[in-house]
């Protein structure tokens, strides 16, 4: 079977912008971790689908706004994270928890804004949803319900695991030279593990996969209404115990955390479009990979490492996270290397991929994606 994914979907700037409009500015996206906002005035800044966003803690309540001051367009908060009130550093305009301008220094004397105009000054606010320790944002002015995008089963499993996250987080970013979609095609393809990761992941875990009758799936008509497209999209996000692992080798820190569950398995969560969470040790720790599209050929891979919640604090906890980061770097590095190689040889007339029966999940999403990209249908 030929893939529907013409090379243009990985190369075209115009299609990249269409994706940003039709997918990334419509759906719920990973925005960060609640533990990064532990107290009043804590904030994180993000650039999501090209829009600068600040998520700010107002006395325990988390709110998301466009991170642009309404006066001279300066960013209200700078740096990835910090603790300061929502006040612009440029001319000290301050904002309240509703995004309303709270104070403009010398307003009457030098700005002479009337009360009505001042009252109309409100930051653009975005919908925010917390699932355990995870924050999701929706940039749409008319956001779909969270439950429309994700199944109840998916939300429940994600919430359950994300509630067990510890507050200490290790984070870094890798700048990869590939299109964001290649990562998820790769993650949905368990067949690559024994070849690409033969000397790393495949030595400690195996990922059984099945085939499905692709022909019958192809014949099912795609409901192109917004409700139909959302319903289809709901199946793209899934999670659970995907892989079998070698017996977990005991190391001292395992006794110091509250393990999530008791299943010795490799857990994966794929949250469409660009979030992957894994727990390769059956719930003792979690890796969050957030793939941020930068351009058709560039994706920032944000990696967060978190252990399960500590029972007791221990001095070398950051070293535990770092050793896992280094281990993961090897495996993810193997993925990044091959995906950058794939991206590097793509060109407008490159042959369409030939897919096997086991690649039904990718085919399913490709049909949905190409329909969305090539028609006026919206989600």
């Amino acid at each position: 079977m030929r893939s529907r994914m013409h090379p243009k979907y990985y190369l075209s700037q115009e299609i990249f912008e269409r994706e940003q409009q039709k997918i990334f500015r419509k759906v719920w996206l990973f925005a960060g971790l609640a533990s990064l906002l532990p107290k009043n005035h804590s904030f994180i800044t993000r650039k999501i689908a090209g829009i600068p966003v600040v998520i700010q803690n107002f006395n325990g309540e988390l709110r998301a706004f466009e991170n642009i001051c309404l006066h001279r367009s300066a960013p209200l908060q700078q740096g990835f994270t910090g603790t300061r009130p929502l006040v612009c550093a440029y001319h000290a305009w301050s904002y309240d928890s509703q995004g309303q301008v709270k104070n403009i220094p010398d307003c009457d004397a030098i700005y002479r804004l009337d009360a009505c105009e001042k009252k109309s000054l409100k930051l653009r606010e975005f919908s925010l949803r917390q699932i355990g320790g995870l924050l999701f944002i929706n940039l749409s002015s008319d956001p779909m319900k969270f439950e429309e995008q994700f199944s109840a089963q998916f939300i429940e499993l994600l919430q359950s695991s994300a509630e067990s996250y510890d507050s200490e987080v290790m984070m870094t970013t890798w700048h990869a030279k590939f299109n964001w979609k290649l990562v998820y095609e790769n993650l949905r393809d368990a067949n690559h593990v024994k070849y690409l990761h033969g000397k790393s992941l495949a030595k400690v875990a195996s990922f059984p996969f099945s085939t499905k009758d692709g022909a019958s799936m192809e014949q099912m008509e795609l409901d192109c209404s917004p409700i139909g497209l959302r319903k289809d999209m709901r199946t793209f996000s899934y999670g659970g115990a995907e892989g079998t692992i070698e017996p977990i080798r005991w190391v001292p820190w395992l006794d110091k955390v509250e393990r999530w569950g008791d299943t010795d398995a490799y857990f994966n969560w794929l949250s469409y479009p660009n979030l992957h969470i894994a727990s390769g040790n059956g719930g003792y720790s979690f890796t969050i990979e957030h793939h941020v599209p930068v351009s058709p050929g560039e994706t920032d891979v944000e990696i967060f490492f978190i252990a399960a919640r500590k029972k007791v604090s221990y001095a070398d906890s950051a070293q535990v996270l770092l050793s896992q980061m280094h281990y993961s770097k090897q495996i993810v590095g193997e993925d990044i290397a091959i995906l950058e190689a794939v991206q590097a040889v793509l060109h407008e007339k490159a042959p369409l991929p030939t897919q096997g029966a086991y690649e039904y999940a990718n085919r399913h999403i490709e049909r949905w994606y190409t329909t969305l990209m090539e028609t006026d249908h919206e989600i």
């Binding site: 510890d166 507050s167 200490e168 700048h175 770092l322 770097k329």
Partner: protein, 208 residues
């Protein structure tokens, strides 16, 4: 003649053993290898064979696990009643008022300015330059050729890799690894890691 047991494993055990042997002919310098098992725990039974009344020890282990493994072995030696003096190479240029903690190592041609303090269990390799009034806290590891300016503070468990230069007045938090060969000219939050394999620094957020 008193014994000096150099206890540990790996390359740094060799380095420390030869350094002590070269400069302390008045002592019986013995190399004592400690094994690690599959979960990296030390087999400390060898310490039972060392009589604190007959000599003192020096713990020599590399920077693995943020210098925590060397600290763990040092603690085991203290628990066995062993005295742990620092090694200061006679070929190092250390100002007379510099305070150096137990089990620290100051390599050949290292240069440490006046008013500086070196915490316990810190390893300063050959040819490191440390300015005046600087503090290197406990359990650090500073590789050959690193330059640390005046009035710098390096937090506990820091690792400074070859090629790092720390501008005067800079504070580096606890548990940082400065592995990119460059000038570090701003304060660095605790537990930040600059590793050459990574595109960006690795940050740790305590979340409290």
């Amino acid at each position: 003649m008193k014994y000096r047991w150099i206890v540990g494993c790996g390359e740094f055990l060799d380095t420390a053993f030869h350094a002590w042997k070269q400069f302390r002919p008045d002592e019986l310098i013995k190399r004592v290898e400690v094994r690690q098992n599959a979960d990296y725990a030390f087999d400390c039974s060898v310490l039972d064979t060392l009589d604190p009344a007959k000599g003192s020890a020096f713990i020599a282990f590399n920077e693995r696990f943020g210098n925590f493994k060397r600290l763990e072995l040092m603690q085991a030696a203290i628990d066995h009643g062993l005295n742990l003096e620092p090694f200061i190479s006679p070929m190092a240029n250390v100002a007379t008022d510099v305070v150096i903690g137990p089990n620290s190592f100051i390599g050949h041609h290292a240069c440490i300015g006046h008013g500086s303090r070196i915490g316990f269990n810190t390893v300063i390799h050959n040819s490191v330059q440390i300015g005046i009034h600087s503090t290197i806290n406990a359990s650090c590891w500073i590789e050959s050729g690193v330059q640390v300016g005046d009035n710098v503070e390096i937090g506990a468990h820091g690792i400074l890799r070859m090629g790092a230069m720390i501008k005067k007045g800079t504070t580096v938090g606890d548990g940082c690894e400065l592995g990119w060969p460059r000038l570090y000219h701003e304060d660095i939050p605790s537990k930040t890691v600059f590793d050459l394999r990574y595109d960006e620094p690795i940050y740790v957020y305590p979340g409290t």
